[in-house]
């Protein structure tokens, strides 16, 4: 029995071991990088409006997420896949009509005023719901926000709203801005949109157009001993070839969002002192999609769409166009969303013979020149890869007797042609999967979206069965049931092919080995970088 007695010494031993084991990583971290230093980062675009509460896009988050914080941030292993930021807990009511957020105490804005539930209520009702590109969808049924005390915000919804959706959307849609700066002004033109004031680990210092953005350390940040950096400078380097050279010359220490072209990664990974990192973009999955105009008689025929799906060699796309930095898609939900992903869907394997047979069956015989019909193909100009895939798709279609004529245009003209004028037969698009299919994925196939809404179903596709599943899932409170509906959604999309999902990819960062603690959450590039450090 005496062996099992618990003595004071045992407890002391055990607790000191425990203490050592938890304290050790912190100590090591502190050794690796003392606080301080200036991190210089390549920025390829130069957004004017830096208010992420209005423009929830990665270009804005990249800079503004260090200044303005969301209620919660995505996490690799947090509860619900989230890590608390300005909210410390979130609980949905059983009827799906309200969600209660407990807010962090002792947080102050960069101008010294305290952060309270009034700021959250103001942001939600006056900005997220009416003005924000994604918030319009997510908070469509938001009726009001009650603030019983300074640190509680209760969101009330007119219709049952799934907590699962709100949770998944929090990192993207819930950037809180200060009520005292925005109230009573025209929000869209408020000066704080270009010189943001937030609660984040860094304060906005200055923007020199065409040169850089500079952020400085917020000494009053609520995170203990955070942030570790003194300054972050985003140097504007629009030329992609320039980012690689600047890294090698040690003018910058980090190039995120694949600023270094994929084809150059192999070479740059061998440069001493630099490393290539593909983690930190798991929640920012881009999907390579072939949009189809179902108004074209030929494309309205399922057999033709199946033939096109069979004509695309996804392995070639992943290995040659993306050089392995992507994976083949099975359907409209990417593998990076394990909560919803369903691999058990029909598979359109690469098979030119089958594609040709399907087209023959559909009654489109080859003419004397070997062509069955001609299509207008519009590859989106946003990425090298979407353009290259356009070139590849033209060749893949030629192999099955479809003559595709590529039409290139700049971003504005491309969006107008595809999403407003419907002047396309096939288009290559890179939509983003944002953690929940209801945020920006179902809109790609759902019918009834008016012309002119970018990145939505503008191909004239209408499938009542699919619309019904989407509508049901939008108001299903039970997470399990909702997830099941989205699995049905995936099956329906892959079976009827309103569009063809080809591949999905995240981005690549190239950094100096001196930069530590990068990619520690699935939205790292657009998160607050409070734990990022720079070795001297």
């Amino acid at each position: 029995m005496s062996e099992f007695t618990v003595s004071r010494r045992h407890i002391l031993q055990a607790s000191s071991l425990l203490l050592a084991s938890t304290a050790l990583p912190t100590l090591l971290k502190a050794q690796d990088a003392g606080p301080g230093g200036r991190l210089v980062v390549a920025a390829d675009s130069e957004p004017k409006n830096l208010n992420p509460a209005i423009v929830a896009s990665n270009g804005v988050f990249f800079i503004a997420s260090k200044v303005i914080e969301p209620l919660a941030e995505a996490a690799f292993d947090g509860h619900d896949g989230l890590e608390p930021r300005l909210a410390i807990s979130w609980v949905g009511s059983a009827d799906g009509r309200s969600i209660t957020f407990k807010l962090r105490e002792g947080v102050t804005w960069h101008d010294g005023k305290p952060f309270t539930s009034a700021d959250v209520a103001f942001s939600a009702l006056n900005i997220w719901k009416p003005l924000q590109n994604l918030g319009r969808v997510v908070f469509a049924n938001l009726q009001g926000v009650d603030t019983p005390d300074d640190h509680t915000a209760i969101f009330r919804f007119a219709k049952p709203t799934p907590i699962q959706l709100i949770r998944n959307a929090l990192p993207v849609v819930s950037s809180v801005v200060p009520k005292h700066l925005y109230e009573g002004s025209d929000i869209a033109t408020n000066p704080a949109n270009t010189k943001p004031v937030g609660t984040g680990p860094f304060k906005f210092a200055e923007h020199k157009p065409g040169e850089y953005y500079r952020l400085t350390r917020n000494d009053a940040y609520w995170g203990k001993d955070q942030p570790l950096l003194d300054e972050i400078v985003f140097r504007v380097l629009p030329d992609r070839a320039g980012a690689g050279a600047a890294l090698e010359a040690e003018e910058i220490q980090l190039a995120a969002f694949s600023a270094v072209p994929l084809a150059d990664l192999d070479r740059i990974s061998k440069v001493p002192g630099l490393k290539v990192v593909s983690r930190g973009y798991e929640a920012l999955t881009y999907q390579l999609v072939v949009e189809i105009n179902h108004r074209r008689k030929e494309l309205g025929d399922l057999k033709v769409r199946q033939a096109i799906a069979h004509a695309i060699d996804k392995t070639f796309v992943v290995e040659t166009i993306f050089l392995g930095y992507a994976s083949a898609s099975t359907g409209p939900v990417p593998k990076n969303a394990p909560e919803f992903y369903d691999a058990d869907v029909p598979n359109h394997a690469f098979d030119t013979e089958k594609a040709n047979a399907l087209l023959d069956e559909a009654g489109y015989k080859r003419g004397a020149d070997g062509n069955r019909f001609t299509l207008k193909l519009r590859p989106a100009p946003y990425f090298n890869e979407t353009r290259q895939f356009g070139d590849y798709l033209r060749q893949a279609l030629a192999a099955i007797g479809i003559n595709a004529e590529i039409v290139n245009a700049d971003s504005a003209a491309h969006q107008k042609a595809v999403y407003t004028d419907h002047d396309f037969d096939l288009a290559v698009a890179p939509p983003v999967f944002r953690g929940d299919p209801a945020i920006s994925t179902t809109i790609l196939v759902q019918s009834g979206t008016p012309a002119g809404v970018p990145f939505s179903n503008q191909g004239g596709y209408r499938n009542p069965a699919l619309d019904a599943v989407i509508a049901k899932a939008a108001e299903t409170i039970d997470s399990g049931e909702r997830t099941r509906l989205y699995k049905d959604f995936q099956k329906l999309v892959v079976t009827d092919l309103p569009l063809i999902n080809v591949a999905e990819w995240g981005f690549i960062s190239v950094t100096s080995e001196r930069v530590l603690n990068i990619a520690d959450n699935p939205r790292w590039a657009v998160s607050n970088w409070a734990t990022t450090a720079l070795q001297p």
């Binding site: 992609r240 070839a241 690689g244 072209p261 084809a263 150059d264 192999d266 070479r267 070639f316 040659t320 166009i321 100009p381 090298n384 290259q388 356009g390 070139d391 590849y392 033209r394 060749q395 030629a398 004529e405 590529i406 039409v407 290139n408 245009a409 700049d410 003209a413």
Partner: protein, 286 residues
């Protein structure tokens, strides 16, 4: 005939004509030497030049044959160059003839239009035109011609102004020939040669403009052009420089060929036939 004889006596002319004939032969026989769509995927991506006998100049990012691209690119470059120059000269001759022959208010108006086009850099004009109209070969040809017609128009007008005061024109007027007939039959043929002399430079400039447009992604995406090949190679410039160098060399050789040809032509036209023999005779007197 004399002009040709004089032309082939100039070294520039000879070299120029050799380069151009090789390129034209290459372009015309492209479907035979490099059959099939030059944009099709022919092999492994980024194969180095001279590593595979079936793909002598290697492949690009998607595995397309570089040699086939250069041969078919010659077609596009020469076609666009020639067509744009032809269009520019046709428009220029026409406007210049009308302005010079009619004189007065018509001349004033037309020349101010010419001024307007000469002020705007030709490349910017082409850039704007293609972005608005959408990229396709006819649009690119028009866009380049739009920036190139002003010079031949001015040249023609100057010629016409001096020609219309000549005695034979006055004679034609006296016998009651209609003005249009005088302009087309008697003045135009005399005004053409100096304009033809600048035509070669217009071709060279047109080829370069087309390459620059394609480089900026404003060429016809459905046909292979040297400019787009250079542009696509730029992304892998550090690891596979040949993708940009090969079409770049092709471009240099072509423009050089056209330029030498034009030099030879100018020399042949300006040098009197007897220069070679008369020179020593003049120097004989002690």
């Amino acid at each position: 005939m004399k002009l040709i004889q004089k032309f082939i006596k100039t070294p520039e002319g000879i070299v120029g004509i050799i380069i151009l004939s090789i390129l034209i032969t290459l372009a015309l026989s492209a479907p035979i030497i490099a059959p099939g769509d030059p944009l099709r995927i022919a092999g492994r991506a980024l194969a180095a030049p001279f590593s595979d006998p079936s793909l002598p100049l290697g492949t690009d990012r998607l595995g397309r044959d570089v040699l086939s691209g250069i041969i078919h690119g010659a077609r596009t470059s020469l076609l666009v160059g020639a067509a744009a120059a032809l269009a520019a000269i046709a428009i220029g001759l026409m406007i210049g003839l009308v302005a010079g022959f009619c004189g007065g208010i018509v001349d004033e108006v037309l020349m101010r239009v010419v001024d307007a086009f000469q002020i705007v850099p030709g490349f910017l004009l082409a850039l704007a035109f293609v972005s608005v109209m959408g990229a396709s070969l006819p649009v690119v040809v028009m866009a380049i011609a739009l920036g190139a017609w002003a010079d031949p128009a001015r040249l023609t007008r100057a010629q016409v102004l001096s020609l219309r005061e000549r005695d034979y024109v006055a004679a034609a007027r006296v016998i009651g020939m209609p003005p249009v007939e005088i302009a087309v039959k008697h003045i135009l043929p005399q005004a053409v040669p100096p304009v033809l002399a600048v035509s070669a430079t217009i071709v060279a400039a047109a080829i370069l403009t087309e390459a620059a447009l394609s480089f900026l992604g404003l060429g016809d995406p459905n046909s292979v052009t040297w400019g787009s090949m250079i542009s696509e190679g730029r992304n892998v410039l550090r690891s596979s420089p040949w993708l940009s160098i090969m079409p770049g060399l092709a471009l240099i050789v072509t423009v050089l060929g056209v330029y030498l040809f034009s030099e030879g032509l100018t020399k042949a036209m300006t040098r009197p036939a007897s220069t070679d023999r008369s020179a020593p005779r003049d120097g004989m007197t002690p």
